[in-house]
Symmetry: C2
Subunit: 347 residues, 2 copies
C-alpha cells in the first residue's frame, strides 16, 4: 500500500510500504477513508521535532475496519470507525478516568514502528480501547464524514481547551490562535454556553470561520495592542477563560495578560521554545490557573459525536483544502505557507 513518510525536513514522500497486518489479537486493520494534516505535524516537517528518515506520519483518521484480531470484541470488518490521536487500552486506571493520553499501553500514531494515519491503511493496536464506531450511513455523507474526522483531534482538543479555560454558560472567553484547534476551541466554547467569545486573529479567512463558529468579537491586533483590545472589550478585566492554542512563549504571555483575575488558561498548544511565557508573579497575584495539556480526545468522542451527528456543531469548515494521497507533500507546503488552514486527505 501507499503511505506518507518523512525523510528529512521538508522532504515528505508518498511511497510503497508493507500492507499492515494483524500482529496482536487485539489489533484491527483499518482502511483509511479520511485523514488530515495537523498543525503539530508541521513541527516534524520543519525539523523542529526530530524524526527518523522514512518514519510514518499522521495521527488523525477515520475509516473502515478491514480485519479484526481474534480478541477484538467491539468491531467487525465493515464497521466505520474514528481513531483518536493516541491509541489506548481502555482498561487501565487512566483510561477509566478519561485520561487515555496517559495509558501505559498507549502510543502516538507514527511514533517509531507504528503506522501513521496519512496512508491507505493503519494497524490499530488495542483497538477495543482506541476506536469509536460511527454510524455506517455517515460513510456516504461527504460533509458529515469530514466533520467526524475532527473528532480524531482538533474538535476534542478544542473541547479540552475550553474545559481547561473553565468555560461555563455566560462566560467570556478569549481564544489565542486562529489555527484549526483555536477555531474548534471557539466552537467548543460556544457549545459550552460562553456568552462572549473573543477570537484573536488577523486572517479574515480564519476569523470568518471563528465568527461562523460563534465568536462575537475579533481582535486583529497583536502583542500589547491585542491585550489592550481584549481589556477594552471586557471592562478592563480580561476574559474569564482563555484558550491558548499556539504553544509559543509569546502566545502564553498574551494568554496570561488577557485572563481575568481568578480565571483560567486552557492550554493545548504543544509547548515549544525555551521559555514558558508564564509570569508566575502575575499569575499568583491574580489567581490565574493553568490547565490543559495533551487532550484525551478518546474521552470526549462519545460526548461530542451526537452533537456532530445532529448538526449542533459542525467543525468541517476548518478543512479548506482537499488532496488525494499523492498530494500530501503539497498539503504540507500549503499549511507551512499558511495558504491552507487544514488539509483534508482522501486516500
Amino acid at each position: 500500500m501507499r503511505a506518507t513518510t518523512i525523510h528529512a525536513p521538508f522532504d515528505m514522500r508518498v511511497e510503497d510500504v508493507p500492507d499492515p497486518v494483524i500482529q496482536e489479537p487485539t489489533d484491527v486493520v483499518l482502511r483509511v477513508l479520511r485523514a488530515c494534516i495537523c498543525g503539530s505535524d508541521l513541527w516534524a516537517y520543519r525539523g523542529e521535532s526530530a524524526r527518523q528518515p522514512g518514519q510514518r506520519i499522521g495521527h488523525e483518521f477515520l475509516g473502515i475496519v478491514e480485519a479484526a484480531g481474534s480478541e477484538v470484541t467491539g468491531f467487525v470488518p465493515g464497521d466505520l470507525v474514528v481513531a483518536p490521536f493516541v491509541w489506548s487500552d481502555g482498561t487501565c486506571e487512566y483510561c477509566a478516568e478519561g485520561l487515555q493520553t496517559s495509558c501505559p499501553r498507549g502510543g502516538f500514531w507514527g511514533s517509531g514502528g507504528s503506522d501513521g494515519g496519512q496512508g491507505e491503511a493503519v494497524r490499530v493496536p488495542v483497538a477495543d480501547g482506541t476506536l469509536v464506531k460511527l454510524p455506517a450511513e455517515a460513510a456516504s455523507d461527504d460533509r458529515l464524514l469530514t466533520a467526524l474526522l475532527a473528532l480524531s483531534d482538533v474538535m476534542g482538543t478544542g473541547h479540552h481547551a475550553a474545559l481547561g479555560a473553565g468555560v461555563r454558560p455566560g462566560s467570556t472567553v478569549a481564544v489565542v490562535g486562529d489555527g484549526a484547534v483555536g477555531l474548534c476551541g471557539v466552537l467548543a466554547a460556544k457549545r459550552l454556553g460562553a456568552e462572549r467569545i473573543i477570537a484573536l486573529g488577523r486572517h479574515t479567512a480564519r476569523t470568518d470561520i471563528a465568527r461562523l463558529f460563534g465568536a462575537t468579537d475579533v481582535v486583529a491586533e497583536r502583542g500589547e495592542a491585542a491585550e489592550a483590545a481584549v481589556r477594552e472589550l471586557t471592562r478592563g478585566q480580561g476574559a474569564h477563560g482563555v484558550i491558548e492554542a499556539v504553544g509559543t512563549e509569546q502566545s502564553m504571555r498574551t494568554a496570561v495578560a488577557i485572563t481575568r483575575d481568578g480565571g483560567s488558561i486552557g492550554y493545548v498548544g504543544v509547548p515549544h521554545g525555551s521559555g514558558t511565557g508564564l509570569d508566575l508573579d502575575v499569575m499568583f497575584d491574580r489567581n490565574i490557573a493553568l490547565r490543559g495539556g495533551v487532550a484525551p480526545v478518546r474521552a470526549y468522542i462519545p460526548e461530542l459525536l451526537p452533537d456532530i451527528l445532529d448538526g449542533t456543531i459542525d467543525p468541517s469548515p476548518v478543512f479548506d483544502l482537499t488532496v488525494a494521497l499523492d498530494g500530501v507533500p503539497t498539503g504540507y507546503k500549503a499549511m507551512d505557507h499558511r495558504t491552507a488552514l487544514k488539509v483534508l486527505i482522501k486516500p
Copy 2:
C-alpha cells in the same frame, strides 16, 4: 501607641507611632489582641522585598473594635473580630465572587501609609467588607483565640492550596513545604476528605505537627530522593493533588515531579527567584494543572470558622513561640533561624 516597624534588613523595631484614628466613615479602629509573624514577612526582614525605612509590618491579627466610623454597619465597639491579610470593600464584583484579593479598593496591611498588624492597634479601611465577627466568649479562651488567629492567613491559605490541588474525598495529597502554611494545607486536605496525605519535611518538630494534622506519611528526603519516595508511596504515579507552600523554583520543580498525571498543583508559596520551576513540556504531556495564588482568605473565614469553633480543626499548634510586642524582633530572628515555626504576638 507602639507598633513594629522595619528600618532595614534585619532591623526590626518596636516604637511609638501615632494612635490610629477613624479617617473614613467606613473605618474601624481595632485594638489588637493577637498578631503573628508570617513566613512571607521574612522576605522583607531579609531584604528580599523592599520596604521604606519605618514602614509598618504584619498582616495577621484579631482584636476588639475600639471605634467605628459613621458608615460602618456591621460592627460596634467591643466586638471581637478577625482581619484577613488584605482589606476589601465587600461590595465589588470580585468580592461578590469570593476573590477579595482582587478588590480594586483592597490593600495589604503594612503597605505604604497603612497600619500593620504587629502593633497595639490598627486602622481598618472598608471594615464592613473586611472584618469578620467572632463570638465574644472566644476572647477569654486563650487556645481558641490563637486558633482563630490562623483564619487571618495560614488556615485560609492552606485551604486555598487544598482547593487548588483539587482535594476530594479519597484523594492522595502531597504537601511541599513544612512551614505553617504547608501544615495548614495538611489540615485543610484532611478536612476536605483526603485519604492519604504525604508531608515532605525533615524537621521532626514540624512533621510531628503534620502527623497531628492528618499526614499519613512523612518523606524526609529532598530533591530527587523525595520524588522517588513519593512515587514509591503512590504506586509510581504521584499524588492526585500537590500543595506547593514554599514558592521557590526547586519546590515547584518537586511539585511538578510528584503530581500524578491529570492532577493539580495548588500553589500558595509566594513566588521568588528568577525561574518558575515549571517544566511545561512535562506538565503538557501529563495534563498537570496549576491553580492557586494569593489566597482570598476573607472568602474562606465564614466556612472555616465554625469548624474551628467546634474543634473540628485546630490550627493553633503552628504557633510554637509566643512573644509580647517588645519581643517581635526576637521573634523574627527565631523564625529566620528556623528555631521557631510561627511566632504568636500578644501585644
